[in-house]
């Protein structure tokens, strides 16, 4: 190899610096999202969820039929069937929007009712999970952070709540609150929405807020218990941070992954509970459809009109399955223990 004098000239600082570059910044979210994108099952579930959301929230506004619209003469149409009157319109050249799933015994289009039912189920699931998340994470964080006597008492309360039979409480609440709430709705116009939503649903929300947050509280508490031993928490104390600040900025911030995953997995569970309650008649009140109540009314005609039971059942399964799979995918993507 030929050497000459120029090789041995000292290198400048800039030339040395050019060899030292910092790698691209990869935040926690980017890294996790990258892993999520690679998970095919989770991505397909996400697509399904988006489609269901569009069907539930957006399509009914543009749909030609309304969920409570009872059209005389359209009773009990088969899927893609037309009534005598509608057939006549088609023959004379007008376009009649098809009934994809037929109609029910009161002439209401079933497809739009299923979509409304999904909307109700999803709303209940999401709102209930949000309530659970807020109550559960704060309760669990406070119990885990303070520890000692306070933690003992708070956790014994949680244990007691676990033993309460939720179904019984819902039935009792409905029984006791039904008439007072109805009176309130009828006398005070500000509370008129009670009638549309239905006493049953209100009681479901109350019960979720009272009882169902305990699972989340336990999980958050155990995560906080291990996090609070981390040295950066001691560092924050040494800086003079207040308890509230430490819980908010240091502890809960590091639990976000857990919170998101647990909440996502809570949604299908809440939807299932609501469907079940509506199925046994304790949920939404007519004419508001819920996937559960649609299934319940379809039971009677199961032999003649099986599609009326199949459609809501498949929809419930699809929603629950896709949320569960997506929640699993989230957990795999954001769980720090899996990081190597």
């Amino acid at each position: 190899m030929q050497l000459d004098v120029s090789n041995f000239v000292p290198a400048s600082d800039e030339e040395k610096q050019s060899l030292v570059t910092m790698r691209d910044s990869i935040g926690f979210w980017k890294d996790g999202l990258h892993r999520l994108r690679k998970n095919n099952v989770a991505m397909i579930s996400l697509v399904v969820i988006v489609i269901v959301m569009v069907l539930a929230f957006i399509v009914p506004s543009f749909y030609p039929y309304d969920y409570k619209e009872q059209i005389r003469g359209n009773e009990n149409l088969a899927p893609m069937g037309y009534s005598v009157k509608e057939q006549a319109s088609i023959d004379s050249g007008d376009f009649v929007f098809p009934h994809f799933l037929g109609t029910d015994n009161l002439g209401r289009d079933l497809s739009v009712r299923i979509m409304m039912g999904s909307k109700i189920s999803l709303l209940v699931g999401i709102i209930a999970s949000a309530i659970i998340m807020m109550i559960g994470s704060i309760y669990g964080a406070v119990a885990g952070y303070f520890g000692g006597r306070a933690d003992q008492i708070m956790m014994r309360i949680v244990d007691m709540i676990y033993t309460v039979p939720d179904l019984l409480i819902i039935i009792l609440l409905i029984a006791t609150l039904k008439y007072p709430l109805k009176d309130l709705a009828n006398t005070n116009p500000a509370f008129a929405w009670i009638n549309t939503v239905g006493v049953g649903l209100i009681c479901i929300f109350i019960v979720f807020a009272l009882l169902y947050w305990v699972g989340m509280a336990r999980q958050i508490r155990s995560q906080i218990l291990s996090l609070k031993e981390q040295e950066y928490v001691t560092a924050a104390r040494a800086l003079g941070a207040s308890h509230a600040r430490i819980i908010r900025k240091h502890l809960l911030k590091n639990c976000i992954g857990l919170i998101i995953v647990t909440t996502t997995l809570q949604i299908p569970s809440a939807i299932f509970t609501e469907s079940f309650l509506s199925f046994i008649g304790l949920g939404v009140s007519a004419p508001m459809p819920s996937l559960g109540s649609l299934a319940a009314t379809a039971l009677g005609g199961i032999t003649s009109y099986p599609h009326r039971l199949l459609a809501p059942s498949i929809m419930i399964s699809l929603i629950i399955l896709s949320f569960n799979l997506f929640g699993d995918g989230l957990r795999d993507a954001f769980d720090p223990k899996l990081k190597n």
Binding site: Y232, A235, A238, L239, R245, N254, I256
Partner: protein, 324 residues
């Protein structure tokens, strides 16, 4: 010299189980007294379990002392609210990986003390202060929006130091700040500590297990063993004219990077292991390994007293220990 920080008969005991009638206690810090003068660096050395980290953290009231008094600038702060003092007394931790919140950016980490103590007047002011602090420790503004995991150990330690400096403190407890760093980075960080002390007039309590480093950076050194201070003297005095048998063997056990010295050195190899802190020996707790042990050592605890100009030691048999 003005005393800035003083510990007077400081005791820190931890309950680790046992029954309510006979609780099992670890006497991590057992009746320790010393002071640190303004602008001084006091080094605290000892092996694992000696209580040096506990002592440092107790001074900052990160643990509530079991007994004893802590004085800061002449004021008894043992039982007061620490909020105003958190600005004046800070700490740098050993583990650069665990002491920074992985979900916060560097800017948030260094800015947190500014937010807690409301030290910035506007967003821009806060940002300026943060950048100034980063530059002071050898980082720059482009590091501000990154996360801790993107930095090396040495850089993370600098971020921790910037955080401690953000409030313009007077006193910093340096809890083994360089043990977790590579050798070639340690010198950078040691030099930085010294430079900051000169520039900002800081007082340090420098805790480490490596006596070579402590001797280099400290003015005076204290040696701890199983919760007790056994010797306290100027750094040169302690290194070359030490009196306590434990200090003697500690120094002799340290391998020096100089083959000729190693070949000619007489090394005192202590027998046996460090006793369990749950059941320390009666009397002097070094007696189980001491080459000069006598009967009195198991009956009476030696008093920590002045045995030379500014030189303290706790030993019954100093006359038996040959001159260093």
């Amino acid at each position: 010299m003005d005393k800035l920080v003083e510990a007077i008969h400081l005791k820190q005991y931890f309950n680790v189980g046992g029954s309510p009638l006979h609780p099992l206690q670890v006497k991590a810090c057992d009746d320790v007294s010393f002071y640190i003068g303004k602008g001084e660096t006091l080094g605290l050395v000892g092996e694992s379990g000696c209580g040096k980290t506990t002592t440092g953290r107790s001074l900052l009231r990160l643990y509530e002392p079991t007994a004893g008094t802590i004085m800061y600038d002449g004021v008894d702060i043992t039982h007061v609210s620490m909020k105003p003092y958190r600005r004046k007394m800070q700490i740098v931790f050993q583990d650069p990986y665990a002491s920074l919140n992985p979900r916060m950016t560097v800017s948030d980490i260094v800015g947190e003390p500014l937010d807690i103590h409301k030290l910035s007047s506007s967003k821009k002011d806060r940002q300026d202060k943060i950048i100034a602090m980063l530059e002071r420790v050898g980082l720059n503004s482009e590091h501000a929006n990154r996360y801790p995991h993107e930095f090396s150990g040495g850089q993370r330690q600098r971020i921790g130091i910037a955080r401690a400096l953000a409030v313009d403190p007077e006193f910093i407890v340096c809890d083994e700040p360089i043990s977790a760093l590579d050798v070639s980075i340690q010198a950078q960080v040691i030099n930085m500590f010294e430079k900051l002390q000169d520039e900002m007039g800081l007082t340090y309590l420098f805790i480490a297990h490596d006596l070579s480093v402590v001797k280099h950076i400290s003015d005076r050194i204290g040696v701890m063993y199983l919760g007790k201070l056994v010797e306290l003297a100027d750094n040169m005095e302690l290194t070359f004219h030490n009196l306590h048998p434990y200090t003697r063997s500690l120094i002799s056990a340290i391998p020096v990077p100089d083959p000729r010295i190693n070949r000619s050195r007489h090394r005192i190899i202590l027998q046996g292991d460090v006793p369990s802190p749950l059941h320390p020996p009666s009397g002097c707790n070094f007696r189980t390994r001491c080459p000069y042990v006598t009967a009195i050592c198991s009956e009476e605890e030696p008093e920590f007293k002045e045995v030379g100009p500014n030189h303290f030691c706790a030993c019954h048999n100093l006359d038996m220990v040959p001159k260093a």
